[in-house]
Amino acid sequence: MKAAQVIMETGTKAAALAVKSARVDVVPGYPITPQTSIMEAIAAMVENGELNARFIPVEGEHSVLAAAVAASATGARVFTATSANGLLYMHEVLHMASGGRLPVVMCNVNRGIFAPWTLWADHQDSFAQRDTGWIQYHCSSNQEVFNTILQAFRVAEQINIPVMVNFDGFAISHCLMPLTIPPQEDIDRFLPPHEPEWRLDPAHPSSFSNVTMAAEYAPFRQMLSDDIMASIPLVKQAAQEYQDITGMWDGDTIDTYRLEDAEVVAFAVNSMAAELRLSVDILREQGVKAGLLRPRLYLPFPTEDIIDALPQNAQVMVLDRNYNFGHPGGILASELKSVLYGRRNDITVKNRVIGIGGIDLTRRFMADEIRAMMDE
């Protein structure tokens, strides 16, 4: 049996290597910082024969996702990646992908959105796509990016819903971390070849996304809503089986740290949640019973797992790297409050918006923030 390979790589290269491991067929792409190096790495692997796939250098993100959707409808396994305004430009086609029930997997490398111009990370871009019908993961390490892309393909192809894998620009995308690449035969065991039930096939002419009346349209939308909810057990199963095969675990719908006896719970996504583990340690040294709950899945929102995991009478400190315009604070806090209402009246939710446009979030800064929130 072949051993896993351990290398030092960036987050974007980890994504590209996952695409290779997933034996993807078609990758349409367009450059945008900080995602660009994913496309560069894939283009290079296709050119040098490492990856037997088609790289299509499309002329803009709207067309990128349209090419991805059409290739997926043809029966191919399809990947692409984008960031920030690229993701916003795709918005119409995001709906086409989910409404069309096409299992495209896409990385979004989180970046603050224009205007004014910024290159650095916050989470306005992915959270702004909440209502597009995509399953959304948010990852906190290079290894998790690699692992999650493989899990995303499995879930997407099981339930015919596209999956977005989000991770922060620069803190993850451009930083080197150790990366374990499992043997290909293990990955092939975890992720079987894509065999769609339906595809554009001249032997079986049929129409796809044709005109419907309300009597057909409404059930299509209801099925999509139901199936997004039904993806939660598949997400858990994928994480479990990935662990069984590779020995690696990043959490399933949620990831927790020192949570069991916590009185103060930090609640955040992406790279800041990795840093928050260290903030939790600092707070514990200071005598605060702190813990961490990181939703790995943002959509569908892991309601039951969050409700089950939160300790009795905890104060939850939601650190949002985004704005919920029209409300004070951020989007995660709003989501959390809505699921706790009437179910966990013992929980107190406090919220701050921090780290916008890539402001550095150190363990000490966030530990101090949480202490300050305790006094509010």
Binding site: V26, S63, A67, V69, T74, G75, P202, P205, S206, F208
Partner: protein
Amino acid sequence: MTTSIKKLPDIELVLSGNGACGGCPATMALRIVGKALGPNAIMLLTPSCSVASMGMTPKLGYNWPCINITFATAGSSSSGITHAVEIMKEKGRLQGELPTVFAWVGDGGTYDIGFQALSAAAERNDNFIFFCYNNEAYSNTGVQRSGATPRGAFTTTTPTGKRQPKKNMAQLMLEHNIPYVATATVAYPGDLYDKVVKAKNTPGMKYIEILAPCYLGWQFDMPDTVQMSRMAVRSGAWLLWEAENGKISFNNPSSLIINGKKGAAPVDEYVMKQGRFNRLLKSPDAASRIAEIQGDINRTIDFMRERAKITI
């Protein structure tokens, strides 16, 4: 020799009972295209008359697998399909002959909202046929102006007649250095058939534009579609040509007009036959505005005659 209409194959890919208007030129043209392509093809459409008329989900009036995709993306989506079938064939997941991939798009989806994606697909020389069925307006939404609407034509968004000339779209596609570009129209079905067969057998990107006189938008009598199409060609308002690897040749009867062997019919008769120019004819400056229309036609004839001389 152009294939005679009597020699076209019997096969029908446009099935009876679809929802097109009587006398619909796009549907007539698609029928000829079907005879040339045969059943081993994948059809891509963007929201337009040909989607509205293909039948309600899950029924289908065209005997191909058909995908209706976002309006702006016929070019890029067709690229996605053609790369997918090619790589799946290479990997042994598709058996038999590669299907022909073709986009069937109106003038709005070609000249306007779809231009960027089409231009980029052409620059990449991706392997599919892009058909533009050009009825010179957004007919499906109730006749609004497009980049293909000729000067002087009334639409609901040009209530006193359009003030600008149309784009020379086929020539723009020619300048993308793609292996095959052609124009056609429904009055010349053999010419259209031959061009589609040629496109089917040419690897790379192919562009075929079909003038599709729409009785609703152009305001003429429903049975006169083919006659309008013929008048457009005879007046020189529509030129039949093709370019293989950048070398232009003109097809009959446009070749006679280009060569000067037969003068184009004056545009008046063609204009008078269509209600969309009615308000123009009633305006005090009717004479000068018809002269403008004639001027646009003459300029395009002169330009294409000269452009055809460039063969490098």
